[in-house]
């Protein structure tokens, strides 16, 4: 299939939607499809072959913050040319209600169109969608995909019609292999954590308390913590003698993140709630690191009710310490969980997710001509 994908946000800036599009495009290419992605991007930056840059995005106030978007006559003519030259079987736009390339592509195109909605749309923005110019563009969409139940609900409630739920995938291959950080995991045992430090729902304080319990009996045990936040403040929650044994890396790059996962004996997801899927935990599973996680619904589902990782009572530091101790003291159990986690996370791999997306494409293109330019 020839697939044209429109990305609303600047390719030069990291973000969830951009990463989703990159992973999807690469999975589709891996399956043998021809993919072209139009995105706001600087022409002079090195870009993957499948990207067609639509020019630099403009920082502009939108929806209460400043976003880098592409709009205006030049963007329209670039989108038009991309559609004309592409000869796509299907056009796949992401976040079509954002004033950028996706909306423009909907407006300009004629033919089978699939749209993916990533964020739940607040009602105020939906009211704007009643504007004739916007409505006529969005009405052309043949198939809607929502990446979360929240996004799907708002779509259904406010715009009518239905959407297929296809969650984000995990690019498992990217996490499978990496060099551990220098000196890690060491011989005394190491526990890892990834996430925003001061956000209470991420549960770092539960882990710090459990570490206190564990460290009392394990002289060599260390903690490796990565994520944005004030490390000094967190370190002070530990008793003085333990502070040297907790290493805070701060915010890390995508590559360092994978190395962190390969630098510990046990990875901990102590979240107390607020996770709908648990992407970080899924990434840790893809790295094959044994996991100890709280028993919230998202993790229970991801870890196959404890068969692919140890579960503990959410918020209970004592229970976390006991579960982590079981893993730290039993290399055979760790190896077993590592294999089970790798097998479980394969269900969420992008290859699986991309196949579902392709079946949506196949449904909307049935009996239709290729994508062209509307008059």
């Amino acid at each position: 299939m020839r697939i044209g994908i429109a990305c609303p946000y600047s390719w030069d800036v990291p973000g969830g939607v951009q990463q989703h599009i990159r992973d999807l495009a690469e999975a589709l290419i891996g399956m043998g499809h021809e993919v072209s992605v139009i995105a706001p991007a600087d022409d002079d930056r090195p870009l993957p072959d499948y990207i067609v840059p639509a020019g630099k995005a403009m920082p502009v106030p939108y929806n209460g913050s400043v976003a880098r978007l592409a709009f205006g006559p030049l963007s329209v003519s670039r989108v038009r040319r991309w559609l004309k030259d592409g000869g796509f079987d299907v056009l796949h736009v992401h976040e079509p209600a954002v004033p950028s390339l996706s909306l423009l592509a909907c407006w300009v195109a004629a033919g089978p169109i699939v749209a993916t909605v990533h964020t739940a749309m607040p009602r105020s923005r939906v009211l704007l969608a009643a504007q004739p110019v916007l409505r006529s563009a969005l009405e052309k969409i043949d198939g809607r995909i929502a990446v979360s139940e929240a996004a799907r609900t708002t779509l259904v409630e406010h715009l009518g019609g239905d959407a297929v739920l296809i969650p984000n995938g995990v690019a498992t291959r990217r996490y499978r292999h990496a060099e551990p950080l220098d000196g890690w995991p060491g011989t005394g045992g190491a526990i890892g954590f990834l996430g925003r430090m001061e956000e209470p729902r991420k549960g770092l304080s539960v882990l710090l308390k459990a570490f206190e319990i564990l460290a009392a009996e394990r002289a060599g045990l260390r903690l490796l913590i990565a994520g944005p936040g004030d490390a000094g403040e967190q370190r002070h929650k530990l008793p003085e003698p333990l502070r040297d044994r907790a290493v805070f890396l701060g915010e890390v790059t995508e590559e360092e993140k994978v190395r962190v996962l390969h630098s510990v004996d046990v990875f901990c997801s102590p979240n107390t709630g607020g996770e709908s899927f648990g992407i970080v935990t899924a990434e840790a599973m893809a790295a094959g690191v044994p996991i100890v996680a709280s028993d919230i619904d998202a993790f229970r589902q991801l870890l196959r009710d404890g068969r692919a990782g140890e579960l503990f009572a959410a918020g209970d530091a004592g229970d976390l310490a006991a579960a982590a101790a079981r893993l730290l003291d039993d290399p055979a159990r760790r190896a077993e969980l590592s294999v089970a986690a790798l097998a479980a996370v394969a269900d969420y791999d992008w290859d699986v997710v991309a196949r579902e997306v392709v079946s949506v494409y196949e449904t909307v293109v049935m009996g239709r001509a290729t994508v062209g330019v509307a008059q």
Binding site: G72, P73, L74, P99, L103, L104, W107, L128, Q131, V133
Partner: protein, 176 residues
């Protein structure tokens, strides 16, 4: 003795007249602040309406339309304390839209679009002027209220102290 009494009465009378003149002047200043503020609010509303007309005209691409409509709505819905920020955002959205490469050429080609853009620009210029006038009279009022005589005799009564209205209202630079 009599001359002294006459002198004192004279001084008191003159002093009273002066103080009441100052009070009257302050009162007039407060009235002018109010009038200037009303003019500024009207100019802002006019600019919003002109921007909305343009956004909903169907003459622009839907992305630009949506951006402008969003900024207009935010300016309209802004709480009094956030009005300045929301109006500045509308200025920035207009500047970004008008500053897009090819925007002017596209507008030149359609007469109705040209008129709508001209309306926005003239309304924006009026905001610029109205805000200048308002801040000018607000500054003079604040200064007059600070004088010792005005403070001692509480000449401003219950009238609230005017506040400057700071915002980004520079549309120029668009089209470059």
């Amino acid at each position: 003795m009599l001359t002294l009494v006459i002198l004192i009465v004279f001084v008191v009378v003159i002093g009273g007249v002066y103080v009441s003149w100052r009070a009257g002047r302050l009162d007039r200043l407060h009235n002018r602040v109010e009038a200037a503020r009303t003019a500024l609010d009207l100019a802002l509303v006019r600019r919003s309406s002109a921007a909305y007309e343009l956004a909903s005209s169907g003459l622009l691409d839907p992305a630009t339309s949506l951006l402008l409509a969003d900024a207009v709505r935010r300016a309209k819905d802004a709480a009094p304390g956030e009005r300045d920020l929301a109006e500045s955002d509308l200025t920035r959205a207009l500047r970004a839209a008008f500053g897009q490469p090819g925007f002017r050429d596209e507008i030149e080609a359609k007469e109705s679009a040209r008129e709508l853009v001209a309306d926005v620009e003239s309304a924006a210029h009026q905001v610029f002027i109205a805000r200048k006038f308002y801040n000018d009279v607000a500054a003079r009022t604040i200064d007059a209220r600070r004088r010792p005589l005005a403070r001692v005799f509480r000449l401003s009564g219950n009238a609230p102290q005017p506040e400057f209205f700071e915002m980004d209202d520079e549309l120029a630079g668009a089209g470059t």
